[in-house]
């Protein structure tokens, strides 16, 4: 048996990383990620992990050091938030295109400016086209489970891509919850040993990493990257099933929460999904056929699964905790609306932007969304395609 403990999100991430015991951790502190690295520093200092810890001078260098380490055959990790991820941007693309299975907890925080330290998804959503796999976590347990699965997903030979595991800044990162921790040996066995198939200085198999690639082959290499992240969908599902065998908790690309017979559906990612579940339970008791579709994998985006889950709904609201400036709606909305385009029957979908810069979202706001969905289902009319929740206007 493992153990049940009370941990904050950051402590949970550090605990998962202790069990993963990466060869290298390179990081620069940023709120609200700091406690992950601080806790991990204790593990290093106490000798309970054998990790080489690099206290670099910036996130740009953190990700660069991870690239060097991973290309040298090491299991490399880092962690960051918001501006830290923004500063890594250049290297994030490179990590994905080098096909290096780096795993990174990302503690979601609003991007500057104006400067803000609280949660929204502008950071991870901004990086959605960088080639990284993205897994969103609803609570501390999912952070733990996602991080351990992320190692397997990233290092799968069919995939070989970096994975970002997100957790909502402060809401989850600094809130204490009940977490089930597996035995160390179980995790060690589950993740197995990392063997980079093209490690540097394998004298029998000399390699060059990241050479110039112009109009002759660049396009084909990008095509391979597309194939790898598409493949990741199946691998995420397979690893989810295997994880169930050691933990009893199963994971899919998304979570269908009381979607059977649901007429009114909200789609959300991150901690808000937990609040939506509470509202769904209340409404179901009142006889309202409410449901939730929770996004776990946003990259790769599970198009078929999403349209399958939503095609029978009478009205759908997508909650986005970030903005795609100039686009008609937030990033999750754009994906879902496009996924539903192939359905014979048109499903009415609306979008709500909420929670920017840490603005709280509660039961009442979510109830109001379901109320609006009820209206749409009855009248078949959408009055406002993109709205805002909890905003002074």
């Amino acid at each position: 048996m493992g153990k049940i403990v009370g941990l904050t999100g950051d402590e949970t991430a550090a605990e998962a990383m202790r069990q993963i015991n990466p060869d290298v951790l390179a990081a620069y502190p940023i709120t609200p990620q700091t406690e992950i690295v601080q806790n991990f520093s204790q593990f290093v200092a106490n000798g309970v992990v054998s990790t080489e810890m690099i206290r670099v001078e910036s996130e740009h260098s953190a990700m660069s050091a991870c690239i060097g380490a991973a290309a040298s055959g090491a299991r490399a990790m880092t962690a960051t938030s918001a501006n830290g991820l923004a500063l890594m941007w250049e290297i994030c693309y490179i990590a994905a295109s080098y096909r290096l299975p780096i795993v990174m907890p990302l503690v979601n925080r609003a991007l500057s400016g104006p400067i803000n330290i609280h949660c929204d998804h502008s950071d991870s959503m901004g990086a959605r086209d960088s080639g990284w796999i993205q897994l969103y976590s609803e609570n501390c347990q999912e952070i733990y489970d996602n991080l351990i699965q992320a190692i397997r997903i990233a290092e799968d030979k069919e995939v070989l891509l970096p994975v970002m595991v997100t957790l909502d800044g402060f809401i989850i990162s600094h809130a204490m919850e009940r977490v089930e921790i597996l035995e160390d040996e179980k995790v060690t066995e589950f993740i197995g040993e990392y063997k980079n198939p093209y490690s540097l200085l394998d004298v029998d198999n000399p390699v060059t990493w990241g050479p110039l690639d112009l109009y002759d082959y660049y396009f084909e290499h990008k095509r391979q990257q597309i194939e790898a992240i598409e493949k990741a969908g199946e691998v995420i599902q397979r690893v989810g099933k295997e994880f169930k065998e050691i933990s009893g908790r199963s994971y899919e690309l998304m979570e269908n929460y009381r979607l059977e017979g649901a007429d009114l559906v909200i789609v959300a990612a991150g901690s808000t999904a937990g609040t939506v579940k509470a509202v769904v339970n209340q409404l179901r008791e009142e006889g309202v056929k409410a449901g939730l579709l929770k996004i776990r994998a946003f990259r790769p985006f599970p198009v078929r699964e999403v349209s399958q889950a939503l095609k029978n709904a009478k009205a759908v609201a997508i909650l986005d905790r970030s903005v795609s400036f100039g686009a008609e709606g937030g990033p999750i909305f754009l994906e879902i609306r496009s996924a539903l385009f192939e359905e014979a029957k048109r499903v009415p979908v609306v979008n709500y932007i909420y929670g920017l810069g840490g603005r709280d979202i509660g039961i009442d706001e979510i109830k109001a969304v379901y109320k609006n969905l009820e209206r749409i289902a009855q009248t078949k009319k959408i009055e406002k395609l993109v709205g805002y929740l909890g905003l002074r206007e």
Partner: protein, 248 residues
Amino acid sequence: MRIGFKRPESMRNSPTHYCPGCGHGIVHRLICEIVDELRIREKTIGICPVGCSVIAYDYFYFDMVEVAHGRAPAVATGIKRVQTEKVVFTYQGDGDLASIGTAEIVHAASRGEPFSVIFINNATYGMTGGQMAPTTLLGQKTTTTPFGRDAKEAGYPLKVCELLSSLPGVAYLERIAVNNPVNIRKTKKAIKKSFHLQIEKNRFSLVEILSPCPTCWRLSPLESLKWLEENMIPYYSLEVVKDSVPLP
């Protein structure tokens, strides 16, 4: 009745968020006194960093810009190139200047950009909870070096003034501390000289100020002054590291 000691006009009448015994507030006041004395309140532009002084713009009563972590010297360059007649200064911590912003400070200095740099060295990343900074002393305990900084895995403390001293673009570098009244007065003199060099000689200069951070050092305000004197000053000697344009 004559009032001998009052709030500088350049300092806004608002409580600061700094911890008791923190050096930031002292340096803020010195800058404001100088701005008053030089009568440049209406031509001063300050740039505040990301660090504990991230909201310094709430305390200075002149135009301020808040910039991304480490980028103050690059932003200052842009401002000073446009508003050449203004007095421009950056206010930066050791994480901001000596870690994430090392490239910016080296290249602004190397180009000899004519602004002043007020550099607060408290040997830690105060804002984020006291992690190891490049300026952290060997053996110093921080939240990322719980048993003290070890040179084998975390290198040696960075001396910014010495690092910049070889650059011809740099006119003046002085390291000083705000640990006692004498040194506080010397700090004021150094900052004033830096402003003079900018206004009169159009030159780049930097004043490094050793400053206590009782909270992250886990010491009382008094103990932290003693710690600064016994540990920081022996390594970061208080001296004029470079002075290529002595003032008359």
